[in-house]
Symmetry: D2
Subunit: 350 residues, 4 copies
């Protein structure tokens, strides 16, 4: 029997990706999807790729189907999500929130980085950080899941084995993230137009990006002590995909890194360790080979000359960096195999 | 119980796409895949996207697994395929050939367009043209399937209802096809390099492209009389995707066209008719909304001022234009539902 | 002594391109540039490429510098231009208008295609169509120049020699134009965003595009009799560049076409005839090789099998299809060599 | 009277760019250009953009025109250049070498990083490093110029003012360089094909890239003490353009950085300091705004929270990162204004 799910905020890119994945998921039935802008219109008006596959119409809220709902996925902007979440949690409906509203453990930290008071500080404790490779056990009982975004997902998955094995000797960790345009959501600014956005190599939010807080929180937990992260996102000429390059001091050799990563990710279906010798070239993770899939590819290099380590994390920001990961976390919480509906191979070349 | 399949010529883009689709297909088991260049190496060396999903190694031939084979997919270049096909057909193994070798019904026409003698003229009669929307019945008993390529697939699917309803009043049909780089296969020429190929708008094989023969053959069959096609392919700045724009004389109104297309494709899962009013704009098919899927989107316009008709066909050249269509035709011949393993939604935005 | 010029509507792409070209032009001095949106701001706020090269600020109008002006370039939307043009022509200031407002010779035709009454029908006769390869003599005395847009420029330059030599035997001429995103101007719609616009192959305004009127007007003049054009623009994945492919009936052989084109463009600096044998391939015009330059590349093919001719026109839509051509026409009217300031080589690879 | 120049190795991208720039340079005449592969063919066979603009044919060597030569530009691969350089220097012909052969001051360091003995160690002392913003005086008398490549140019120009003002307090400097496909030269490998190279985010030569040596050499000279650089290049989805992001420890405030950069680059024509507030966004350098030009845009940020500094350098790798810079250095050595022939504005949008 299918689990009944709804999607709140279904007309953006994360919403569309949730619909793409959930409509193909053998264990769920989508009973409602909301959009203020598109209410009353068929889903394929916002997502022409889903023509003939998702036949629902957008509604303004999930009220009409609320009594049938088992779980909701919330794909609203930061700050909007915490306004509606309590309605669902109060009714015993499971919530997977894809915004940043429940990712930080401290309401104070939320205020520092997001510049406003948290409206539901009591829910922060109940929320489980939805990165299954780190919180697999906690997710089994979760009813409020805070799914992480693309930057923290790529950074944390690529750094976690090294940090938890104390292979990073001195910080801060310098994280550079190359990001595609879909990460900024469905946008209509001049800056995001094809002619302006194509071909950019453009750093933004240098030294003050909000995702820094999440990455520091989780790395510190893994390390058992406070860690600092200097995070720099750079827009590049892609629609999908994120690559994080992280530098830190350390003398671990490649063999030690291999061992740490193999053990950490043993048995995990969605993390692939990529470090191949192809002719004279060393091949590292590249999000091109994860396109449309829930895989995260991670890799590393040791720079013996300077006693430094470099880490790479690559994934599709809308799948493993958003909707796919949300479904993976949901699967665990709903008692399904974590890979249910998520094993489509990446598309290549594309 | 799974059907045992092999792939001959598995290191190119069509081969990789066959592996991507077949590895996710619930009714088949891949028992062998060949590549001269990559023999002995794991599949992910040629197709890094399949790392962790396809664990076979390439072999030089399928000999070692021949006795286990039920069907083979042949993804060799034109002219190579007909050399190996008889080995399989002689052993009762079903064959889906993705080259052009068995698409033309006449050995003479093959010689005219391909500049060489056909080596297996007796097999031409047994081959069924693998376009399931036109040959669904014939495919049920087929043991040798000649899967069409991307240009004919897009052109034929977009024109078939008009032609079979005699809505085209005078010819020739002028077909312009915009094509991505993956259509030329895995290439290492200077001309196909990123710096040279990015951003092109480049016509080629004008007035002499070989696919003309296939399109004329099938349109003439549908029309019941000889039809001429002026075919012009143009390379554009995409990896995947093909759009055909076809012009011909005709006075049919849009309503008549709607009716003809609706009836022709009633009950077909993989053809979507696209003609939406979105604000002031009319939306026609665009391969962007079919990416990674087996859908073909078709549409049309009537130019009353000049008594002319315009037809659009859009699809992913590696899926509905190659590997996906081959699997769809195979499904029918193997007694499965034609959509088995092929219903993944298109990816958007990507 | 420099000619003093102003630019009206300088914050869009055509305006920016005018500033790029005029700032590098040895015979002119830019004395003013207007923008409502950016008034008071430095030019590099709208055009960051011009930082350090154009140090003007945008003003709301050219009033403050009107008495110093010799010529103005108007880069306003269709319909806006004819509101301001008379102010300049009445003061004896030469005008190069880049909108469509003065391109059609008949106010009636303007109403048919643009859906509104022309506000300055008496100026239509005085306007010279600013395609220097067709109107070189008329431009010498012009004081109001209607610079054509990218679609008509590419189509007309590629067809003119064939049409004027009566090599097209039966019509209509079917013109397909592949166009980049900059042709739509500086836009902020969702549809034009990077994620939505990248990778499209999307026909629009099929059978009703306004530029049809211009192309028919000028071809008919060249032919000496009425000609019909079925024009279909298709958005493709480029920022700059346009390629027109035109089909028509005709039996001229390639040698005849060479002769007609060579003679027609003898001595013209900005039209290059492209038809090379490169190995087995025939090379036709591609806008990639005109990027950033004022060149138009034209070519042709003869399809003897079907008695049809194919014509290609390739250019940079913002230069030879807009600002560069406007400056070329201005040069002639101002008594300068037509190539002054316009001979920068195209950029490749880019 | 024109200076007579030749180009050795003119069929690659750097060679093509030299021809593009030199053919438009008012002070030089190109008297010969060599290519083994294209000897006897017209230049536009290799560089279709130059059709009609450069009418020379490639020759195998410059022997036939040697007596007329004043200067040669050598655009051969590393290791090849030092084989031919002495022939020219011995005849008193000025040489601008665009390879890495004469950039390092020590033959030992050359052997360490390039894995072979230097063939002309005595010429290393005579060579002047061709970065005009650092070696303007030395270049005035240079007869052998070692023009730097794109990575060192962007890194050094963005770091020089900070390093020479001792604003970097602890190292190493972590330099990440995003690079386009043209930086790898004219290539025909499968890996560099359009389908494989489009959309990559791919680190390579991590911890062992040869350009590290140059950057360390020049930064150490500026600092007056040894500096270490951890350099990571990453291929991204562009043809042209490079962006370097450099991180290091430091507490300088933004005002101090402004002051240091303004003073260092006062009067320099080709370096622009970019740090704008555009609405809520801070705008940093982006190579998109330098396309086709000789400009280098530099910028910086101060991360007070972590006492770290970030530096950005953006340029067109084929112009300011190769051919343009070579011509700029040549201009100085030849007694011309350094900007002669180099002031074309960048192209935007493109």
């Amino acid at each position: 029997m299918s689990i009944k799910v709804g999607v709140v905020g279904g007309s953006g890119y994360t919403g569309g990706e949730l619909l793409r994945i959930l409509s193909f998921h053998p264990g769920v039935e989508i009973v409602g999807v909301t959009s203020r802008k598109f209410k009353g219109e068929p889903v394929h008006r916002a997502h022409p790729n889903l023509r003939g596959l998702v036949t629902l119409k957008f509604t303004e809220t999930l009220e009409p189907v609320a009594s049938a709902l088992d779980w909701v996925f919330i794909a609203l902007p930061h700050g909007e999500s915490m306004k509606v979440t309590p309605r669902f949690t109060a009714s015993g409906i499971g919530v997977v929130d894809l915004s940043a509203d429940f990712r930080l453990k401290s309401a104070e930290s939320y205020k520092t980085w997001y510049g406003r008071e948290h409206m539901q500080p009591d829910l922060l404790d109940r929320a489980v950080y939805g990165l299954p490779e780190l919180y697999g056990n906690e997710l089994k009982r979760a009813r409020l899941i805070a799914a992480p975004g693309c930057n923290p997902s790529a950074a944390l998955l690529s750094l976690a084995p090294a940090v938890s094995n104390r292979l990073i000797e001195n910080g801060p960790v310098t994280v550079t993230a190359l990001v595609g345009s879909s990460g900024a959501g469905r946008s209509s600014s001049v800056t995001s137009s094809h002619a302006e956005r194509t071909g950019v190599m453009r750093a933004y939010s240098v030294a003050n990006h909000r995702h820094t807080a999440e990455i520091e929180q989780e790395l510190s937990r893994l390390a058992g002590s406070s860690m600092s992260v200097a995070f720099t996102p750079v827009s590049v000429n892609n629609i999908r995909g994120i690559l994080t390059l992280s530098h830190a001091g350390g003398r671990a050799r490649v063999e030690e890194l291999w061992k740490a990563y193999r053990e950490f990710y043993r048995g995990r279906k969605f993390v692939r360790i990529v470090r191949d010798q192809a002719g004279e070239l060393q091949r590292y993770p590249d999000p091109k080979f994860t396109l449309g899939s829930n895989f995260a590819d991670v890799g590393f290099e040791s720079d013996a000359r300077l006693s430094r380590l470099v880490f790479f994390g690559a994934l599709d920001n809308l799948v493993k960096g958003a909707a796919g990961q949300a479904v993976q976390a949901f699967n665990i919480a709903a008692g399904l195999d974590e890979s249910t509906g998520l094993l489509q191979p990446p598309l290549h070349p594309a």
